[in-house]
Symmetry: C2
Subunit: 338 residues, 2 copies
C-alpha cells in the first residue's frame, strides 16, 4: 500500500517532532520516519537522562523529558510515526511529488519532504579489522544474543561503556566471558562498574586491557590477538565476539539523493530552509547556512520557516497568513482547545 | 554614575530575557532596560494569563509563566534589570563603544546593544481631538487618580475594556461618573461587565454610547460633546476625563538613532542579526529579514546567533566555540550546576 501525503518528515528527534507541530498549524498533515525504534533521536539515544539547560523557558530538562513534552505538544495532529525504518529511496515523480520507500517496505507519495535527520541514522560502530567480515552475524555480533543462546561458550565482549559492561554481566551468568577494553578505566555508571569489578575479583569474568590486532581462524574464528599497553600480545580463544563500541551516525542513502551537500551537510536558504531540490527542506543539525549553530532551539526556528515555505508550495492559490496560537480561533480548533 | 558594560539589552520581553542567557553562556554580562515596570514585555502587558501554545516543548503556557520560566533560566547570570525607563539616547563614541542614557537618568557605556524592543515601548493611546492638549494632566488623564482625589466631582471615563470598566466602578464610589464608549457592548471580563450593568441599573453610573466630537471650555474644560450612533449630540458637563483607550506601542527615540529602518522595523542580517550599525543587533519582533515570522521562538534563535556574532566583536582575539550545556563543564560552572 502506498501512503499519499502532503509532508514526510525524516527524523523523529526534537526538531522533526516540532516540524509536525508547525506543519499542523498550517493544516499540513505529516508522517514521520525514523531509523530508531523510539522517538527523540540522538537526544534519547545518547543522553536520555542528562540535563539540557538551553531549551528556551525550560531551565533544565533531559532528552527524554524534552521528547515527551514535544510528543504532548504535537498530539493534536496525530502524525503517524513509522519507527525502526530508514528511508532508502527518494525519487522525484513527473507530477512534482516524490516516491519514497523505507527499509521495511513502507511506501509514500509525498508533496514535500523535511529532512530532520540530525547527524544521520545511528548504527553500531564496527570493529575495523581486515578479514573479519565473513564472521559478521555468525560469530561477530553487535547486539547480544537471546539469553542462554551462548550458554557454556567462550564470549569476548569488546568495549568499556554501559552497554559493554551490562552485556558482560549478563553473559557471565551462562558463558565464559572475557571483557576487552583499550584502557583500564571504564566509561559507565558507578554501580555497573562496581558489579563488573566484583565479578573480576571473584574470577567469574576475565578482563584484558588492550586492542584486537589480529585473529586466528580455521576456518571458523578461533582466537583473537590482543596487543596490551606494554606491547605484548595475548591470544584469547573464543566462540563469539560481541562488539560494543557505541553507535556511529551514518548519513546512509541520503547522500545519494542528489542534494547539494557540503561536508556531509545540506546547504539551505535561511529564508525557507529549502535544499537545492524544490519540495525538499532540511532542518536541524543536518543543514548548514551562514551563521548556523547546531542547537535544538535553532532547529525549532528552522522548522517554523520551512513549514511556511512548504505551505506556499502546497497551497499555491492562497496566501497563508501567520496566525497566533493565543488569539486565532482556527488554531484553537486545530489544537483541540476551542 | 556611568555603568560600563559589555552588552545592553533594550527590552525585557521573552526574547530580551533569553538574550541574557545566550550572552551569559558566552561569558558576556548584560544589563537590561525596559519601559514597563515589570519584565515580560508585551506578553505580560497584553495577555498575561491567556494560553500560548507554540513555544517549543511547552504544550501550553501563559505570558506570565513564560516570563517566570525565563527569569529562572537566566538567574545564574544575575543581569540587572533597569525597569520603568526608556532608552532615550544612543551615541557612538570614538572608542567604538556607545553612550546610552535612559529617561530616568541611568547612563551606560556599552560595547554592544541588543534591541529587543518588540513593537516598541507601550504608552497609553491618546484621545485625538484638536485643542484638548492644554488640559492634559490637569483635567485629561490616562491613569486614575489616588482614591478619593476626585471625590464629589464629575468624571467621564472613556473606553470599554477592563481598565475602563474597573476605573468606572472604582470612581463611582466617590464621584459622579459617566462611562462613554463607542458601542453598547464592552470588551471586558464577564464579572466586571455584570458589576457595571448593575451600577447602571441602580442609577449610580451613567452610560452613554457615542464618541467625543467636541468640547466646551471657559477656560477650564467644562463639557464634552458626545455624538451618539443616531447622530444626535449630547453635552456632558465634567471636571475630569479619564481616557482608557488601551496601550499603543511607540518606537520612541529608537527611530532617531540612524539605523536602517523599513516600515518601523530594523533591517538585519539573518547570519548575525546585526543592524546597519556595527555593534548594534536587533532581535525579535522589531527586526526584519527575508522569511521573518514574528514569533517568540524565532526570536530565541535570533538572540542566539546575535550573541555569537557579538562574542566575535567583544573577544576578537579568540574564536568562541559552540559548547553544549549538556556536556560542557565550563558552561556547568557558569550555570551554577557544576
Amino acid at each position: 500500500m502506498t501512503i499519499e501525503i502532503q509532508a514526510l518528515i525524516i527524523g523523529a528527534g526534537p526538531v522533526g517532532l516540532f516540524q509536525v507541530f508547525q506543519l499542523g498549524l498550517l493544516e499540513i498533515n505529516a508522517h514521520v520516519v525514523d531509523a530508531l525504534p523510539h522517538p527523540g533521536g540522538q537526544c534519547v539515544q545518547l543522553y536520555p537522562d542528562k540535563p539540557i539547560y538551553d531549551i528556551p523557558a525550560l531551565p533544565a530538562t533531559t532528552g527524554r523529558d524534552l521528547t515527551d513534552l514535544l510528543l504532548k505538544q504535537i498530539a493534536p495532529f496525530s502524525a503517524p510515526l513509522h519507527l525502526g525504518q530508514e528511508v532508502t529511496t527518494v525519487q522525484p515523480r513527473t507530477d512534482g511529488r516524490f516516491d519514497v520507500a523505507t527499509s521495511t517496505g513502507t511506501q509514500f507519495i509525498t508533496q514535500t519532504i523535511f529532512i530532520a535527520a540530525g547527524v544521520g541514522a545511528f548504527a553500531p560502530r564496527k570493529l575495523k579489522l581486515e578479514g573479519m567480515e565473513p564472521f559478521e552475524g555468525s560469530q561477530v555480533h553487535h547486539t547480544t544474543a537471546q539469553p542462554g543462546a551462548w550458554a557454556g561458550q567462550r564470549v569476548v565482549v569488546l568495549g568499556g561503556d554501559d552497554a559493554a559492561l551490562e552485556a558482560a554481566l549478563q553473559l557471565a551468568e551462562n558463558s565464559q566471558v572475557t571483557l576487552v577494553h583499550r584502557r583500564a578505566a571504564f566509561d559507565a555508571a558507578e554501580p555497573t562498574q562496581a558489579a563488573v569489578q566484583a565479578l573480576i575479583a571473584a574470577g567469574r569474568l576475565q578482563f584484558v586491557v588492550g586492542q584486537i590486532t589480529g585473529f586466528e581462524s580455521a576456518p571458523r574464528l578461533a582466537a583473537l590477538h590482543i596487543t596490551t599497553p606494554d606491547n605484548t600480545t595475548q591470544t584469547i580463544p573464543l566462540d563469539h565476539l560481541l562488539v560494543c563500541l557505541g553507535l556511529s551516525p551514518k548519513l546512509g542513502p541520503l547522500s545519494t539523493w542528489g542534494l547539494d551537500m557540503q561536508r556531509k551537510q545540506l546547504q539551505v536558504s535561511p529564508e525557507t530552509f529549502a535544499t537545492s531540490t524544490p519540495g525538499i527542506f532540511a532542518v536541524g543539525d543536518i543543514n548548514t547556512y551562514p551563521g548556523k549553530k547546531k542547537l535544538i532551539l535553532c532547529g525549532f526556528h528552522e522548522a517554523t520557516l520551512a513549514a511556511h515555505a512548504a505551505a506556499a508550495l502546497i497551497y499555491p492559490e492562497q496566501k497563508v497568513p501567520l496566525q497566533y496560537t493565543t488569539t486565532s480561533l482556527r488554531l484553537h480548533q486545530l489544537l483541540g482547545v476551542a
